[in-house]
Amino acid sequence: MILLWGLKDDSPLQLVREKLIEKGIDHLFLNHSDILETQLEIEYSEKPRGTLDAYGSRYQMEDFRAMYLRPYDFRQFPHFKDFDEKSDEWRHAITFEDILWGYAELTHATVLNRPSSMLSNSSKPYQCMLIEKNRFKTPETLLTTDPKEALKFKEENGEVIYKSISGSRSIVNILDNSHLDRMKDLRWCPTQFQRFIRGDNYRVHVVGNQVFTSRVVSEATDYRYGAAIYEFAELPNVLKKSCVSLSKSLGLNLAGIDLKRTSENEWYCFEVNPSPAYSVYENSTGHQISLAIAEFLSSV
């Protein structure tokens, strides 16, 4: 049996669920929103084993041979708005999540993705070190609290962007004269500056050994916040193999890799997303990513 954990209106999860239903593959969709009505118990001795009580049934955890986990922040659920961190409801939700993530870390089942494998994304320069070890190019980068260093970096590199260092989402912006007044605020926290790489954006989804490439056509510096069209594309074989290898080296069975190709045909890698929201790419390009995920989960 396959476990899907997340919300009903999460497209990446629901696309996979539809494929599992079409193929008649046994699975349980555990709605994260139903967390207060679910119980979990895991015994840790030689091998972890336990039970999940949900929707009037008891499931043996060892019977889940694969899992696709896309939970959200339970504090944002409408039915949690009346509870605070001291409530039994919060304690139950936090405990449930912690137990399930702990089990996901240790189970022999296939997991998309194990919690520890996803953590490199919490620090972009840290993850870039791992990306470079896999022989991908990454842009010249400065982390600083010093306005003079930032301006010197801009002078040396021409166009420069700034973005968050952590996994917190930020809008990527080009550093220009309109920012000069705010440069003094750099002292409060290290900020990440990178040489802006001009070229074509690509998002590559890796599922196991399969690679699905989308070219992003956009005028925006950060296409996620501007108009963008996603087109079906193919990578050169050597690059496909590198993407698979990179994902595996990070311990990821599912990954969304951000690449850029320059006019000189140089390829840069910016980030590996361990929980990619692939659905918009699938819907635009026809790539069968959800089918690949469903087949990957059911192949074990």
């Binding site: 702990g102 070190m129 010249e140 926290c189």
Partner: protein, 231 residues
């Protein structure tokens, strides 16, 4: 120069300082990251400039780092606007994770993807590592029901702390070898392990572990220094 990376409210860090040779140990807190002067080029991380206790230094001056912070906590950042503290804490944690990863000096403990100092493991993950290291493990249950978790064994608890390859504290035959084995599996050099001595047959079962042991006194500092100096 030795760096102790710690919260500004960490009294233990302050208490360790007098046991280091004079003026060799510096406490670096998250407040230091809100100072102008930090600069690191990822292409040349070795020669970066950092700020500690208000002074600029080069990374090449660092001979060892003792990391007492799992991450930066938002509430500590009193110098930052309240609404931005959690975000800034994430940024500082991400920055420190990278910075510590570039250092070539000895670090207690080296950062991992999940924590600034060693792996941020749950009890069950430590238990698995202990099994992999050949230790006997006390079984336990984790559950969401109101009674919470339970342990399946009972007995007296004994704690063993390892700094580098040396023991700090109570010396019980055979346990330090087990702790060294677990430390090797976990990739750490600073580790505290709790064992349970069973009533049934007087054996010691692994109970739990953590990478933030209590470090107090001259002996702890002596072992830290030995580790930094290759001992």
């Amino acid at each position: 120069m030795y760096i102790i990376l710690a919260s500004q409210v960490d009294d233990i860090a302050q208490e360790l300082i007098p046991h280091f040779p004079s003026r060799t140990a510096w406490i670096l807190t998250p407040a230091d990251l809100s100072q102008p002067g930090w600069s690191i080029h990822t292409a040349d991380p070795i020669n970066f400039v950092f700020v500690v206790e208000g002074e600029s230094h080069c990374s090449t001056e660092i001979n060892g780092v003792l990391c007492l912070l799992p991450c930066v906590f938002g509430p500590e950042l009193v110098q930052i606007e309240k609404e931005a503290r959690d975000y800034v804490a994430s940024e500082m944690t991400a920055f420190l994770k990278f910075w510590l990863s570039t250092l070539s000096c000895p670090i207690l403990n080296p950062p991992t993807a999940g924590c600034l100092s060693g792996p941020n493991w749950r009890r069950e993950q430590w238990a698995r590592a202990a099994l992999d290291a050949g230790l006997q493990v006390s079984p336990f249950i984790r559950r969401t029901c109101p009674q919470c978790s339970s342990d399946k064994s009972e007995g007296r608890m004994i704690t063993v702390t390892l700094i580098g390859s040396k023991e700090l504290g109570e010396n019980v035959s055979g346990l330090y070898d087990q702790v060294r084995g677990l430390a090797k599996v976990a990739g750490v050099n600073l580790l505290q392990v709790t064992f349970m001595k069973t009533k049934r047959n007087d054996s010691y079962l692994f109970y739990d572990a953590n990478t933030f042991p209590s470090l107090q006194g001259a002996r702890a500092t002596q072992l830290i220094m030995e580790y930094f100096n290759g001992g």
